[in-house]
Amino acid sequence: MSEQFRGAPRPRRGLSPERVATGLAWFTIGLGLAELLAPRAVGRLAGTRGKDDVIRAFGVREIANGLCLLAAQNKAPWLWARIGGDGLDLATLATDYTDENPGRERVLYSMAAVAGVTLLDAYAAQGLSRERREQTELVNALLLDYGRRSGFPEHVEMLRGAAADAPVPADMRQPPALQPWPDTPRAVSDRTGVPVPGPEFAKPRSEGPQPRPYSAASATTQTSQSEEADASSGAPVTSAPIADSLSSAGRG
């Protein structure tokens, strides 16, 4: 037997990269909304001056990134994009880290906070990239292995139809009266003009129970008797007019 795959992947201890990524997505959406709606307050908190428009633009970027992070199946590229954004944040903050800025200390704290978030971004991005690599390797190994598991001793085409002689119970077959007609030989019904199968198809029907002749006067009695007979013999129920038209077609 082929190699077997055993056991589920072990759950990682602590915070999984997936959970960190989701947390970062919500954090970034929250920060983005704050930057977009209250840029002055955010600027004051970060120790920057006169950068309201830049902060608003950063807010839009954060919200877009957060939404993409939440929606994406593969979150790693969006986390790497966040690291790029963190770099931009740090560079912008650095321009305000001057002796003239009374909020210089706040800028320093803000830069430390951004650096901390960058570490989280890097942890999640790296973890998710590694998981994806491992998953791809596993799927490739599985494809190679399962792709060889036909269950057949020979090439599948050598066995196509090998069990065509298997007994198919009558109750699981299409009832004979509803089976598709063969293409050839063909004939046309004298009465209706519809194409019907030739005598070969009609022949086996004569081997079954013979339908009683139909007459309008005794239709009710005839039908019930016919049904009883068919039920007791287990043969398919066939109404007289259809059988009649088929045998007529056979003659045609």
């Binding site: 077997q4 056991g7 589920a8 599985l142 792709g147 598991r149 036909s150 269950g151 196509r160």
Partner: protein
């Protein structure tokens, strides 16, 4: 003895329970050597099957050695190696005599409870809901087999457990699904689901001579196995199933369609699948995306074969399309005993080796974890065999 027991949704445990004993003169006690987790066990695990009780022993696909027989059982002897069909059949009632073993009229002691739900009773099943008798199942070290002089299939020592184990369920189930399609040499057979039953249905349709077999799923590893068995594959995450099926059949649709998925159909972001999920959570409907798609795409006058398990009601079924297209619907639990002689012979002849589907073999104690792995389709899991 040790056994896997149901304790609620997503809660299967390996418990110590009392050993089974002979309760009726026709019984036998089997020491289980191999058992498997079936896709329909997941319906219990996910809490979609009514009538389960805490402590029920689960599992209905098992085999082993006879260790005790009742005084009226003259067919089995201690030491016989047998595979036990998942449907319990008396062999004497009118339905059993007609070969409709899965609707045996005597083997379900809770027939009144089931008749209230379904109108009439069906056969008792091992390790399933109390609606089907509440019989202790086979994911255990030992199991009591009622009516054991009728169902169990004696298997030769020349074949391994892995080769014959699936005669108890998935192989005959896939086979019946294909047989009841009445496959003709010109037919295209489309099979939804590349799980264990789908894989068996693919091989069965090929052996029965289908011109073209197409399998629909979303997991690449399952599709790879389907392809190895001779199927053309459609990944429904990447392709439109209806368009692709029409393309492969000159816009005529497949003549024969098999639903090897059942009540927990998964679909990607389709409106109807989200609707189904919401309704299933309220016990208002099974998830029927596959049935809808089959009815829609099947060639008029074609056959729909449904081995996939459904438990209750279905909603928004396009019955107008079904009726106007003149489709034939064939379904039911498997009449296992109807097929086992023929299939065992085919395994002995080497025509097919059903062990190809096994991806995980673990001790019984690891069963609860494997339920989760199988449910989540992790680690390439397609079929789990447990060794008590």
């Amino acid at each position: 003895m040790r056994a896997l027991c149901y304790h609620g949704k997503h809660d299967i445990r390996c418990d110590t329970v009392p050993d089974p004993r002979i309760e009726h003169p026709r019984d036998a006690i089997i020491r289980v050597t191999s058992c498997a987790i079936c896709g329909s066990d997941l319906h219990l695990y996910d809490g979609f099957m009514p009538g389960m009780k805490s402590g029920d022993i689960v599992g209905h696909e098992f085999m082993g050695e006879v260790v005790d027989v009742g005084p009226e059982n003259r067919r089995l002897r201690v030491g016989d190696r047998v595979v036990v069909p998942f449907t319990i059949t008396c062999g004497e009632c009118e339905q059993c005599r007609r070969g409709y073993f899965s609707v045996c009229e005597r083997s379900n002691p809770n027939r009144d409870m089931q008749a209230k739900l379904f109108g009439h009773q069906t056969a008792g099943l091992f390790g399933y809901t109390h609606l089907t008798g509440g019989y202790p199942g086979g994911q255990a070290e030992y199991v009591r087999v009622p009516f054991a002089d009728v169902g169990p299939v004696k298997v030769p020592d020349s074949l391994t457990d892995e080769q014959v184990l699936f005669l108890g369920d998935i192989f005959p189930t896939g086979w019946q699904a294909a047989v009841q399609c009445d496959i003709q040499p010109t037919d295209t057979v489309a099979i939804w689901g590349a799980g264990p039953v789908g894989q068996m249905a693919i091989r069965s349709a090929v052996l029965l001579g289908a011109n073209q077999v197409i399998c629909i799923d979303r997991l690449p590893e399952r599709l790879a196995m389907a392809q190895a068995g001779g199927a053309i594959t459609i990944n429904f995450d990447e392709e439109n199933v209806v368009e692709r099926l029409n393309e492969l059949t000159n816009n005529k649709g497949p003549e024969k369609c098999i639903d090897a998925v059942g009540m927990e159909a998964h679909a990607t972001a389709t409106v109807d699948s989200m609707y189904d999920r919401a309704k299933q959570a309220l016990w208002l409907s099974d998830r029927t995306h596959v049935l809808r798609e089959m009815i829609y795409v099947c060639r008029p006058a074609g056959v729909l074969s449904i081995p996939g398990v459904y438990g209750g009601f279905v909603d928004k079924l396009p019955f107008g399309a079904l009726m106007n297209k003149g489709l034939t619907l064939r379904t039911g639990q498997t009449h296992v005993g109807r097929w086992t002689d023929d299939l065992l012979e085919r395994i002995e002849q080497g025509q097919i080796d059903p062990s190809f589907v096994i991806t995980h073999t673990v001790p019984l104690e690891e069963g609860p974890q494997m339920y989760r792995t199988f449910r989540d389709k992790q680690d390439g899991c397609i079929k789990v065999v447990l060794k008590p």
